[in-house]
Amino acid sequence: MDQFLQHILNGIVLGGSYALLGIGLTLIFGIMYVVNFTHGELYAFGAYVVFAVVVALEGNFFLALLLAVVLGAVLGGGIEWALLRPLRGASIDTTMLVMIGAWIALQNTEQLLWTGVAKAIRHPFPEAPLVVGPVSISWIRIFVFFAALVLIAGSHLFIRRSRLGAAMRATFQDRETAALMGVNIDAVHTFTFAFGSGLAAAAGALLGPVFVVFPTMGDLAALKAFAIVIMGGMGNFIGATLGGFILGIAEELGAGYISSGYRDAMGFLIIIAVLLFKPTGLFARAERIG
């Protein structure tokens, strides 16, 4: 039972960052109808920014996190502006191919810059874990969890309350009508992509110090984000949040009770189960397909 509690706790902590990843991707998909294959690379990019600032430049850890989010958003906005804006109105398959090309180019640029060797990031938290009754948890994980929670809540408030958030929601519901009401669709698209990319970079920046950083770390992250998005229903903010936590817990339980080698297969199992029983996502309004 103690072990079970420990797995659940680890899962929830991990789930916070997964939720960030999933929210970023689901916003981009829902609003732009683009399957964003660069999402995992933005995740890796965030982690590498923290690595560069903390280890190479010996800078402040928290400043590095902030910088990772900002630079991630800038890079994402740049990708949207350079690659997706010229292809507005193109089919989802066309943009998908472009994003795959960008993914490969970005990942190998990282490989070229940092080599394939995995790197660790120092963090300023004490090594000794916090022990509460039967379970224990390291301080860095506690920090990561609460940072993720703050970002999730902040994003939610932003989309619900701000004018730009209202424009995003309007574009999601009906692009033409939103445009007629004076919403600048181009700006909303670029902003959405930058926003989602910033969240992905934040997830990478937060999980980088917990695990290690390596150039292909984005591939699995992207697959997990896809699993979360399918679970929550494409374009569904709350669904992606819950999906992130479900995936985190499922992975920890899978690693604990089945085999640690198959930890990363949990996302796929969830995808299969969801597609079999509720293809529109666990928390979805109906989506029109085909």
Binding site: L87, A90, L97, G101, W103, N108, G261, F268, L275
Partner: protein, 340 residues
């Protein structure tokens, strides 16, 4: 002239080992041929039905592993005291098993994901490839995991009157790959020009309309997935018995991307496109090898893919043949999505 052109090409390809003595060049041609088979199989899905399979390397790898395991034999400890022993079988049987196994998984994936398709199909296939890689890495009893399957026997065929022939050398392997290439080409051509092929194209162009005139959407998509996966499995089988070693790196995502680039650059939805793409991208890396590190090469691939989509969205083959004669069917399937 046009009728004779294919025959001239085939005659030329058959003649290659007669005057090409350089073993390294032959090796490049063989691996190009294997990739051409894989690219053709991907084209059947991506080009004709408009469904992008981003896990095609999984079918390739399943073909390779199955073929290798059947011809090597294996034993599995199912429970305490009972071990399932599988004796080595002839290579041709292993090859067929590989094709069948890949086709079977194609069927499962098709059944699963064509309930929703589009973006879902892409994500399901890409995750599927990742899981197959995890299984190959972790099921050490069967696959040897990262230690790889070694000493895979080469193809052995017995010809009546000629005795047994074991394909150790490059030349017979070249002919074997060429034969599988031609066979895959003919199978895909036959399928594309059949009723099913017209159904694929109808689906790609306008799914709602196709359905309204009675095309059984899911059935035809699953059919395309099975044939495509089986041919990819055949390419994997060729690979296993030619390279003679199979490890989980066979599932690297980059190989799927290579196939996609071949199809997109050559021209999706054309019969020759993937072959042309495979020739270009089979030979290009070897030519670049001296000049650029692998990372740089992949960066070039990625940028190339973006450039192709921007400036030559139909690919090379339609761009060239489009100048010679009007095309029969549009190569791009954009309308189905917009009709949604």
């Amino acid at each position: 002239m046009r009728r004779w052109l294919p025959c001239i090409w085939v005659a030329f390809l058959v003649s290659v080992p007669l005057w090409m003595r350089n073993q390294y060049y032959l090796h490049i041609l063989i691996s190009t041929g294997i990739f051409a088979v894989a690219a053709m199989s991907l084209n059947l899905l991506l080009g004709y039905t408009g469904q992008l399979s981003l896990g095609h390397v999984a079918f390739f790898g399943i073909g390779a592993y199955t073929s290798a395991l059947v011809s090597l034999g294996f034993d599995l400890q199912l429970s305490e005291g009972y071990t399932f022993v599988f004796e080595p079988r002839p290579v041709w049987l292993g090859f067929l098993c590989g094709v069948a196994a890949a086709g079977f998984f194609g069927w499962i994936i098709g059944r699963l994901s064509f309930r929703v398709r589009g973006a879902y199909f892409v994500i399901v296939t890409v995750s599927f490839a990742e899981v197959v890689k995890l299984v190959a890495l972790n099921w050490v009893d069967l696959t040897e995991g990262p230690m790889a399957l070694n000493n895979i026997p080469p193809v052995t065929l017995s010809f009546p009157g000629l005795g047994e022939l074991t394909f150790w050398k490059k030349e017979p392997n070249y002919y074997l790959v060429l034969a599988v290439c031609l066979l895959s080409y003919l199978v895909i051509r036959r399928l594309v020009f059949s009723r099913a092929g017209r159904a694929f194209i109808a689906l790609r162009e306008n799914e709602a309309l196709a359905e309204s005139v009675g095309v059984d959407v899911t059935r035809f998509l699953v059919l395309a997935a099975v044939v495509s996966a089986a041919i990819a499995g055949a390419a994997g089988g060729l690979y296993a018995h030619y390279i003679k070693i199979v490890d989980p790196d066979i599932f690297l995502f980059i190989y799927t991307v290579t196939m996609v680039i071949m199809v997109v650059a050559g021209g999706k939805g054309t019969l020759l496109g993937p072959v042309v793409g495979a020739v270009i991208f089979g030979i290009l890396p070897e030519a670049l090898r001296e000049a650029a590190r692998p990372e740089v090469q992949w960066i070039i691939y990625g940028l190339f893919m973006i450039l192709i989509v921007f400036f030559l969205p139909d690919g090379i083959v339609p761009a060239v043949s489009g100048r010679l004669r009007p095309r029969l069917s549009p190569a791009r399937g954009d309308t189905a999505e917009e009709a949604a």
